[in-house]
């Protein structure tokens, strides 16, 4: 559809315009406000009389000694995002494939149960998980010790296990979303492709690798890209399960720094600059990922 007529153009813009008007109406002003703020000295002492000071805040983001160390937190955020996304997608697609088999009965019930983690209010569920990780009374340790005879784990007391605990919680919260997307994506695959493959005697792995994965990709890639962005910036779960960074501020993401800078220490300029840094990290990721996955192009064109 390259040579578009005038009517086609009008139709096209009618399709695109409403969504973009809503979106940009809401986003543009805060976005530019933030850029200006990131170049300013707005903080507790200059809340109304702030002025532009250039790149000072950006320099501070990278050079200021921080507790915990900025680069360690950056690394943790990357690990957090990658591990979460890996399990969200893996479990989501896996369960969708299992649910999509025509021989399974009671699909509706399984679907309803498996979507629960997405449907339950997050705050109370995060605190429940925190309770489940308690050393003496948490159900996870009670199960380990009473049922399996294993020693209990001091989940929230050590940095690594606490980090694992928050990841487990978030994997639990996130897999249903990917499962729903994958279920939808699987419907776009024509049955005859599988039938043809069966006639050729193809293995399940061959079918997965050469039919399923390539064909669910157009639908999964946007979910994965945005899932990555959301997970990278998801403060709530880590904050709630680790009780604001326990043990000893070891369980933090980069956004915790933004939150603390703005709300605990009233350093708005610094917070804005750090937001910009996070923004550029995510922009770089999205550009690379989309290029690799050809997400902006139509598969059939």
């Amino acid at each position: 559809m390259h040579n578009q007529t005038f009517r086609q153009r009008v139709f096209l813009y009618l399709l695109v315009a409403p969504a973009f008007i809503v979106l940009f109406g809401v986003v543009i002003y805060p976005f530019f406000y933030n850029i200006v703020l990131s170049l300013s000295n707005m903080n507790l002492r200059h809340i109304r009389d702030w002025r532009i000071v250039g790149f000072d805040q950006y320099i501070k983001v990278f050079t200021e000694p921080s507790q915990p160390d900025f680069y360690v937190v950056f690394l943790k955020t990357v690990i957090w995002t990658a591990v979460n996304l890996f399990f969200h997608v893996l479990l989501g697609v896996f369960l969708a494939l299992v649910l999509n088999q025509k021989e399974i009965r009671g699909k509706a019930i399984f679907r309803a149960i498996l979507v629960l983690p997405w449907a339950v209010p997050q705050l109370i569920v995060a605190l429940t998980w925190r309770g489940m990780f308690n050393y003496e009374y948490g159900s996870i340790n009670l199960m380990l010790t009473q049922w399996l005879g294993l020693p209990g784990v001091q989940w929230l007391r050590q940095p690594i296990t606490a980090f694992i605990a928050v990841i487990i919680t978030n994997v639990w919260l996130g897999f249903p979303f990917m499962m729903v997307i994958a279920l939808g994506a699987l419907q776009s695959i024509p049955h005859d492709l599988y039938e043809a493959a069966d006639i050729d005697g193809a293995s399940w792995y061959h079918k997965l690798r050469h039919i399923t994965i390539p064909l669910i990709q157009p639908v999964m890639v946007p979910a994965i890209t945005l899932g990555t962005i959301w997970t990278f910036n998801n403060l709530n779960i880590v904050w709630l399960v680790s009780n604001a960074g326990e043990p000893s501020d070891q369980t933090h993401l980069m956004v915790s720094f933004v939150y603390k800078a703005a709300f605990n220490f009233y350093r708005y300029g610094y917070g804005a600059a750090l937001s910009m840094v996070i923004f550029f990290i995510l922009l770089a990721f999205s550009l690379t990922f989309m290029k690799k996955s050809h997400a902006t192009q139509n598969v059939y064109s």
Partner: protein, 420 residues
């Protein structure tokens, strides 16, 4: 094909719904005109306080039908950041209610009004001076309640007589701590509290002679008080073994509620809840540390009203009227009776109830032994600096001496960052 048809119908419905709904929300946007003057109070109080407040507001509105007052609960952090954001945009509630430490940052941002010229001297003289929060030469908050203080709460069934010294505390604690069902795990502890938060560490710090900052607002965390306080907590857990291995607020709360802990260190906000859970509780001042001869002193904070600097004219007049009304002896008395909060009105403080009720008497004793919560905005930096090292000591990855040093260094750095 049937599916297709119904899908199309669904889509048409969605489009129609979209249009209808948009128009309806337009209507909602034009706010129902209420001729009354509207006042809003933001606070961070729990439900039983809200119920008493609502009763008092209803009475106020009955007296003054031309005013409509609404109370809005906000969680601590959100109240603060939300008020800052709203006030900077020229909006926000007329009255903001809370502990005195919000005065520091609000004053720095010029978003609350100085009150010393607005209220008369005679009226201010009726209030306990500890309920008036002055900062940088101006009065910014008038409080109707004193407290927010930690005390020792004990289950009378398990602890007939509360301890008065740390050695008694250990002795009673040891007699209570037991493995009742013989599974090799302790299932009743002598004492518990939320020991992930530095706020709950303050009484131990003060009991051993420490404090968080000097009069100029400089942190004084690297002190004997910090080190000995930390050592004492470690002793309770690892040597005497009378407190659980790991407890945050919710764990400590449930242990005490279920009768699995004889005593808990908790604030005045918690008493009513324990009574409602059917416990026969007693409230006692925190014990004395015999080696120093000092009482464990919690932080004490007034809770009171500040006025948004964006208000003027009629609204300001009514907001003042409302504050005076809520601060009246009758209303303070009502709160004290129902919530066990300490009134600030000097006359109410002398009433029979406050003087003679067992909980009120002990609460008052604890307040008199407590230390006022600092108002300066740097307090945030100090909490933030204490938390990681304090937790590290409990996790066994840092010695108390190292922790005290780390806290001090981090506090200094944070304060410098805040004020650059």
């Amino acid at each position: 094909m049937k599916l297709q048809t119904s899908l199309r119908a669904l889509y048409a419905l969605a489009v129609a719904g979209c249009i209808v709904a948009a128009s309806v929300s337009m209507d909602g946007c034009v706010f129902k005109r209420d001729p009354r003057i509207r006042l809003t109070i933001w606070h961070q109080d729990r439900i039983d306080v809200r119920i008493v407040l609502q009763r008092q507001l209803d009475r106020f509105m009955q007296l003054h039908p031309e005013v409509r007052v609404e109370q809005l609960f906000k969680e601590t952090e959100e109240l603060r950041s939300g008020f800052i954001i709203a006030a900077l945009a020229g909006q926000g509630p007329e009255i903001v209610y809370g502990p005195s430490d919000q005065v520091g940052p609000f004053e720095m941002m010029h978003i609350i009004l100085p009150l010393e010229d607005i209220f008369s001297k005679e009226w201010l003289a009726l209030i306990d001076p500890r309920g008036l929060t002055w900062y940088k030469g101006h009065l910014y908050q008038v409080a109707d309640k004193l407290g927010n203080h930690l005390t020792l709460v004990y289950n009378k069934k398990l602890v007939p007589v509360p301890p008065t010294t740390e050695e008694e505390l250990v002795r009673i604690g040891k007699s209570l701590t037991a493995d009742l069902n013989g599974d090799g795990k302790i299932d009743r502890y002598g004492l518990t509290w939320n020991y992930t938060e530095p706020f709950f560490f303050i009484p131990f710090m003060t009991g051993f002679g420490g404090w968080i900052m000097d009069d100029a607002g400089r942190p004084t965390l690297n002190s004997r008080g910090t080190v000995d306080g930390l050592k004492f907590i470690k002793r309770l857990r690892d040597v005497e073994r009378i407190i659980p291995n790991e407890a945050d607020y919710n764990v400590a709360d449930i242990l005490f509620k279920d009768g699995n802990a004889g005593m808990i260190i908790n604030g005045d906000w918690s008493w009513a809840g324990y009574q409602n859970a059917g416990l026969d509780i007693g409230v006692a001042p925190l014990p004395k540390i015999t080696t120093t001869g000092l009482w464990c002193a919690p932080m004490v904070s007034p809770k009171g009203f500040s006025l948004n600097s964006n208000i003027s004219g009629e609204k300001k007049t009514w907001a003042l009227e409302l504050v005076r009304f809520l601060m009246s002896p009758e209303n303070q008395m009502e709160s004290a009776r129902e919530l066990f909060t300490m009134p600030t009105n000097l006359q109410v403080q002398q009433s029979d109830f406050v003087q003679q009720n067992d909980i009120m008497r002990n609460s008052r004793l604890q307040i008199d032994r407590g230390r006022p919560l600092p108002v300066v905005p740097e307090l945030r930096a100090i909490w933030d600096a204490m938390r990681p090292s304090y937790q590290a000591v409990l996790a066994g990855t840092m010695t108390p001496e190292q922790a005290a040093e780390e806290m001090q260094a981090l506090a200094l750095r944070r304060i410098k960052e805040m004020n650059e």
